[in-house]
Amino acid sequence: MGENVTFKCLRCGHEFCGVYDTDVERMCPKCRSNSVRRVKDKPAPPAHPPKK
């Protein structure tokens, strides 16, 4: 299972969370560009926040 990370679109600047998987094409959900870069210094929030 891939790691949950933050991506940034280098076309429109949109930031989003997704699974880092080298076998899956990256695509910005906003502008559909493939120029999507993994933001390394920004850990992604957990997919399911812990219950209070």
């Binding site: 891939g2 076309r11 997704g18 699974v19 998987d21 080298t22 899956v24 560009s33 870069r37």
Partner: protein, 610 residues
């Protein structure tokens, strides 16, 4: 099967698995492990005396657990060779105190508990992959209650129940009370045509696939139509309902079969049940369904429900892909070289596909594809000489350091290298397809691609940026997809900025980091790298290395104070002329945001680095 088993020039290796494959088209070496079956298959007459005395009873896999078999068994009645095999995991063994009854009763003494696995080496010219598929497990679809309600069965289980050679002798009974069901419902598209995860990018692939696969499994509709006609023929009073999304009855004679089924009284209800609830007393099943044709919510009480399950790639598909250096679709099926022009070829020359290993299909299509694959293999086998690709890699033995990186990135395993012994890389030209990933990855420029050398590509970059570089967008495009996409945009008269300077490579994997940096050093405001979509890569997975290289470059550019946005990456197929035009317009927008000072700074930074 019997004909194949008896053919003098066909050698069947049943109960065997491939250990390794090496070599190239016309010259493959295959290592096969023939597993010990503990029965001499050439001597066994399949008399069945051994199975009669065997005390071990286990679920029969062929009967999907609805019947039982012994620890010594024939996998299924039509198995070739028709010889028994001992299930080693369940057999008590030949220690006399433990068992050994089969060996004692066998008159021709063909049972040998000392038999060992055999390794067989074969030299072959071509390989046909026909490894089949698995069926979808509907346990995850809790609303249908497959794991809770006894009278909910899969279409495969139903097939065994109505088969004359099945566990009930062809008499249809429902599992809970063994009475013939009078009202049967079929639920279509179970595990097929399902977009799970609602496109949530954070969903893992396991989460996305557990509720089903996005594709149509091709055979389920007609299998249900066939089953319904069979039921109506054998049990005319049975009330049959089919719950469906669409009935896909394409193919010769299929529509006629569907019409006959409706005329026979089978009710087709457009809508999939939201829930299947069991009456704990009668065992009957209550289905709630939104009948979209009638526009109302209906409830149906049935004696038995059949889940028309979809088809999924076989579990060991990834292993086969690795063994033969093949490519897979997103769904996990093996990918053909070209869906229209080379539908049975694979990216590895000399390896062909047949049947459901390539995608879900019915028997007719499987036979057609198998015939085509056999014919394609014959071309190789009947040739005295084979033409190799003109564009291949060539190693400069003086420069190569033997680091082995080229061998690591080669999708075809066409490079022999060993980083431990520092062996100088050697290219197997018969295997090399000419993607150029090795050349782009080599840090020492020790690999040259014939017809796409570093010098030739660098000269193109230099020429493209010789005048007014600040107005140009240097675009690297792969031959098969993005270049064809650009061509399609052109012939379709789609408007896009004319300042793109397209440089063609065979694969985006050929694009060296140095080419991109050189373009920036010569004053290019924007560089675009484009290639095939992941699933379309003509060189198995060479474009994954493009992504990795661009990732590396984005980091490198940022460290140097150059905006990573100036390097764009896009996957464009040959049919996406409109996408190419959009990408070029967006690239032009980015170019207009790059100032002359920024270009000058980039030049200075890269010049200082040398």
């Amino acid at each position: 099967m019997m004909d194949a088993g008896r053919h003098p020039r066909i050698k069947l290796l049943a109960y065997s698995e491939i250990v390794s494959v090496s070599g190239y088209v016309g010259n493959f070496s295959v290592r096969v492990r023939k597993k010990a079956r503990y029965v001499d298959e050439s001597a066994c007459t399949a008399c069945g005396d051994c199975a009669k005395v065997c005390p071990i009873v286990v679920p029969n896999e062929f009967e999907v657990g609805l019947g039982s078999r012994k620890a010594i068994y024939i996998p299924f009645p039509q198995a070739v060779p028709s010889a028994y095999v001992i299930d080693h995991a369940n057999c008590l063994g030949d220690v006399p105190i433990a068992c050994g009854k089969c060996r004692d009763i066998c008159e021709i003494k063909c049972i040998d508990f000392d038999q060992q696995d055999q390794i067989i080496n074969l030299d072959v010219g071509a390989i046909i992959v026909a490894t089949g598929l698995d069926v979808y497990d509907p346990s995850a679809l809790d609303e249908y209650g497959y794991t809770r309600h006894e009278n909910v069965v899969t279409s495969l289980e139903f097939e065994r129940l109505i088969d004359a050679g099945g566990p009930t002798g062809g008499h249809l009974i429902r599992p809970s009370d063994r009475k013939p069901p009078k009202r049967i419902g079929f639920i279509q598209c179970v595990g097929s045509r399902t977009l799970s995860g609602n496109g949530d990018p954070s969903a893992s692939s396991g989460q996305r696939l557990s509720r089903g696969r996005p594709y149509c499994s091709n055979i389920c509709c007609m299998n249900t139509v066939k089953d319904s006609l069979l039921l109506k023929d054998h049990y005319p009073d049975t009330d049959i309902s089919v719950f469906y999304m669409d009935i896909r009855a394409f193919g010769k004679g299929f529509e006629d079969l569907y019409r006959r089924s409706k005329e026979a009284g089978v009710k087709y209800i457009r809508g999939l049940p939201g829930e299947v609830v069991e009456d704990p007393v009668s065992g009957n099943l209550l289905l709630t369904v939104d009948n979209t044709t009638q526009g109302r919510v209906e409830q149906h009480e049935l004696d038995m429900v059949v889940l028309s399950i979809g088809l999924v790639p076989s579990e060991d598909q990834a292993h086969i892909k690795k063994l033969l250096t093949l490519s897979q679709t997103d769904e996990g099926f093996l990918l053909e070289s070209h869906p229209k022009l080379k539908p049975v070829d694979t990216p590895t020359r000399g390896v062909y596909l047949a049947g459901c290993a390539e995608g879900p299909k019915d028997i007719k299509d499987s036979v057609t594809q198998a015939s085509a694959a056999a014919a394609r293999a014959q071309i190789v086998l009947n040739s005295d000489k084979l033409k190799v690709e003109a564009i291949t890699a060539c190693v400069d033995r003086e420069v190569c350091t033997g680091c082995g990186l080229c061998a690591k990135v080669c999708p075809y395993s066409a490079i022999l290298a060993d980083s431990k012994t520092k062996m100088i890389a050697q290219v197997l030209e018969a295997k090399c397809a000419g993607c150029g990933a090795c050349s782009a990855e080599c840090r020492f420029d020790a690999i040259t691609m014939r017809h796409f050398s570093d010098a030739a590509l660098t000269a193109q970059i230099d020429a493209a940026l010789a005048e007014n570089p600040e107005n140009k967008i240097v675009t690297f495009a792969c031959n098969w997809c993005s270049y064809a996409g650009a061509d399609y945009a052109g012939v379709s008269r789609m408007q896009y900025p004319p300042n793109a300077r397209i440089i063609r490579t065979m694969c985006s994997g050929r694009i060296d980091e140095d080419f991109i940096l050189r373009a920036f050093q010569l004053g290019a405001p924007v560089v675009l790298v484009s290639g095939c979509h992941y699933a379309d890569c003509h060189y198995i997975n060479a474009n994954r290395w493009t992504q990795k290289r661009v990732d590396r470059l984005w980091d490198r550019l940022e460290r140097k104070g150059i905006r990573p946005e100036r390097l764009q990456l896009e996957w464009i197929s040959a049919a996406e002329g409109a996408k190419f035009a959009t990408v070029m317009r967006e690239a032009e927008r980015i170019r207009q945001g790059v100032t002359p000072e920024e270009i000058e700074l980039t030049r200075r930074v890269l010049a200082e680095e040398g």
